[in-house]
């Protein structure tokens, strides 16, 4: 299972379609609740600017628990984070909404979630 967390419904759908077996959440709390139920994703596509708690709050939550600390996270954002090292949060890749393609998403799914 792959999680897509983005408050833009259409963008989330586009990412989920490219990713394949994906579940979409419009905010971080919904996604955390799903994890608490025991549904641990293999990979997460995460937007940063979300309604409610933002992506960084979600990442902090994730790395604080042993069952989620190692889940690879792909940031999908329109912010420029190119000069930030986010590996401490388990971030394996930052995709820019400006130029990412379905191929990029499929490649990441193939590498981290198959």
């Amino acid at each position: 299972m792959i999680f897509v967390i983005d408050d833009d419904e259409i963008m989330a759908e586009c990412i989920a379609n490219a990713a394949g077996d994906a579940k979409v959440f419009s905010n971080a709390i919904e996604a955390m609740n799903e994890i608490v139920k025991g549904n641990i994703p293999k990979l997460i596509f995460l937007d940063i600017l979300l309604d409610g708690p933002d992506g960084f709050t979600f990442l902090n939550e994730m790395i604080s628990y042993d069952d989620t600390a190692k889940i690879p996270v792909v940031i999908v954002t329109s912010l420029d984070l190119s000069d930030k090292d986010l590996s401490v949060y388990g971030v394996v890749k930052v995709l820019s909404k400006d130029d990412m393609t379905p191929k990029d998403i499929r490649a990441l799914v193939k590498y981290y979630a198959k």
Binding site: C14, D98, M100
Partner: protein, 226 residues
């Protein structure tokens, strides 16, 4: 302490989000026929150009923060990147683009991102103003202690007021060049702002059959090491 919200930056982010969605929607049409593929590619290309313009406007707004580092950069690879990015657009619009490099000095003092933006906007401007089935030219040459990047189009003559502003080195605000869509002069405004930040000189030369826009960039002293 209250943090002042920059309306332009907020608006830019608001504009970018739907453009990025449109682009993703277009890209999600995979495995379509050749005719639809052409339409899809055009949708992607139009969204990408609009996203770039919004990004450039955001950068203009942030120039005064001084976040753009000036360093020695090789000018030809940047020209190559821009032409690679825009070549399909020229082809799609039945325009030709020729490239001529004659500069001996390879390195200039600039910011890579901003220089890319200047050349991109000059070329987009040239593509827009060149007539159908005509070519535009991108040239890089030495000019005393500077390297000049020139983009020549074969379109209508540049109005004298815009020419004067360009040669003053600073376009104060976007000035419409012609009464048609995409003629707001925004590209030239962005290019002049970026150039000004880089201490580069912009200017325009009017020809009877078009215009040459140029930016003169300081050569890097590091060039002498090669």
């Amino acid at each position: 302490m209250d943090v002042e919200v920059d309306g332009i930056l907020v608006a830019a982010h608001e504009l970018k989000a739907p453009l990025a969605v449109l682009r993703q929607l277009a890209l999600s049409f995979e495995g379509v026929g050749a005719k639809d593929e052409r339409i899809r590619d055009e949708m992607v290309s139009v969204s990408e150009r609009a996203i770039r313009q919004v990004n450039d406007l955001t950068k203009v707004r942030r120039l005064e923060d001084g976040l753009f580092v000036m360093e020695p950069v090789a000018v030809r690879p940047i020209c190559d990147d821009v032409t690679r990015e825009l070549m399909h657009l020229f082809k799609y619009n039945k325009r030709d683009l020729s490239i001529k490099y004659s500069n001996r000095s390879q390195l200039v003092i600039a910011n890579r991102e901003l220089l890319h933006g200047v050349i991109y906007n000059f070329l987009l401007n040239a593509m827009h103003y060149s007539g159908a089935e005509t070519r535009s030219e991108l040239m890089v040459k030495d000019k005393n202690d500077r390297v000049r990047v020139v983009v020549r189009d074969f379109g209508p003559e540049l109005p004298t007021d815009v020419w004067r502003e360009m040669n003053r080195g600073f376009v104060e605000k976007p000035t419409s060049i012609a009464m048609r869509p995409g003629s707001s002069g925004l590209g030239l405004f962005i290019a002049s702002k970026f150039s000004h930040y880089m201490n580069a000189e912009v200017g325009a030369i009017r020809h009877r059959d078009g215009t040459s826009f140029y930016v003169d960039l300081m050569k890097s002293k590091q060039a002498s090491l090669f």
